[in-house]
Amino acid sequence: MSLASESPINHEFLARTCDDDDAFARELVDAFLTATPAVLEQIRMGVLSADPTVVRAGAHTLKGSSRAIGADRVGEVAETLETRAREADLTDAAELLGEAEARFAQVDAYARTHWSSTP
């Protein structure tokens, strides 16, 4: 399996979004990696306090930011979390948050490897 097919980032989408400017793509992914831990923490606080409004706001932000860089798998789970929170259903919110964190960790690890090996 090639590296591209294993990538948790949709490179084709990211390149198109950044107009084939790799330095900008790298900067954008860096911004995502820097901002996302606080967003995940916000969702965690919402889950712990059983507040669907807080969970929904955090999941909404995560959905938008992950899709902006082509981290589609993070975006998918964020969308599910947002939809459930909008319906005030937090039954499996903790599980979905765990899934979002795991998928984010994959993006983080991949990005560090990918861009450290890119000249």
Binding site: F13, R16, T17, D19, F24, E27, L28, A31, F32, T34, A35, A57, H60, T61, K63, G64, S65, R67, A68, I69
Partner: protein
């Protein structure tokens, strides 16, 4: 164009700012609706691109405030959000938005929509210029006001601005009117 962004997510804000700058626009970025509203009131802005869900003041309220605020030039408002569906679209347009794009945006589509925006703003300015044309009598130079009444320039301007007049005589009128009258009086 001078574009004001209201976007609370740093990743989306960076992407939008850089994309617009690459398209040649002058960009100001804010991270919530309230700050955007303050900047909008303080500076001339051609276009506002706003997210919908934001802390403090959301994009819908920002849009409504912009439409309720009088400015000499029209401001084009574009909602850029990951909220989608016909209901959201209609709600946004009813709040006064001119356009609605869902995230993640396609840069070529955004560029095309901004070209349309530029055309619309150009037409608006053209209409404003036409509306600003004053009918003036070719002979006596009186101006016809919006109630179809003819009035002299001095009264017309005084009624519509804070300008005050001081009276003097220009060299041409001094020569043709005053000196002629003095000569007539001297007999």
């Amino acid at each position: 164009m001078r574009i004001l962004i209201a976007e609370d997510d740093p990743t989306s804000q960076l992407l939008l700012t850089r994309t617009l700058e690459k398209l040649g626009h002058d960009v100001m970025a804010t991270d919530n609706g309230r700050t955007a509203w303050e900047r909008f009131r303080a500076e001339p802005i051609s276009v506002v691109i706003t997210d919908w869900m934001m802390p403090d003041m959301d994009g819908l309220e920002l849009c409504q405030r912009i439409r309720g605020h009088e400015k000499p030039d029209y401001t084009y408002v574009l909602i850029l959000t990951s909220l989608s569906g016909k209901g959201r679209y209609l709600e946004g347009m009813d709040a006064g938005a001119d356009d609605f794009i869902t995230k993640p945006f396609d840069r070529e589509e955004l560029a095309a929509r901004l070209r349309v925006c530029e055309r619309i703003l150009g037409l608006k300015q053209h209409v404003q210029r036409l509306e600003g044309l004053l009918p003036i009598c070719s002979y006596c130079k009186k101006i016809r006001d919006d109630k179809d009444a003819w009035t002299n320039v001095e009264a017309y301007v005084a009624k519509r601005s804070s300008a005050a007049f001081t009276h003097s005589i220009c060299p041409h009128c001094y020569e043709t009117k005053v000196e002629t009258e003095i000569a007539r009086l001297k007999g």
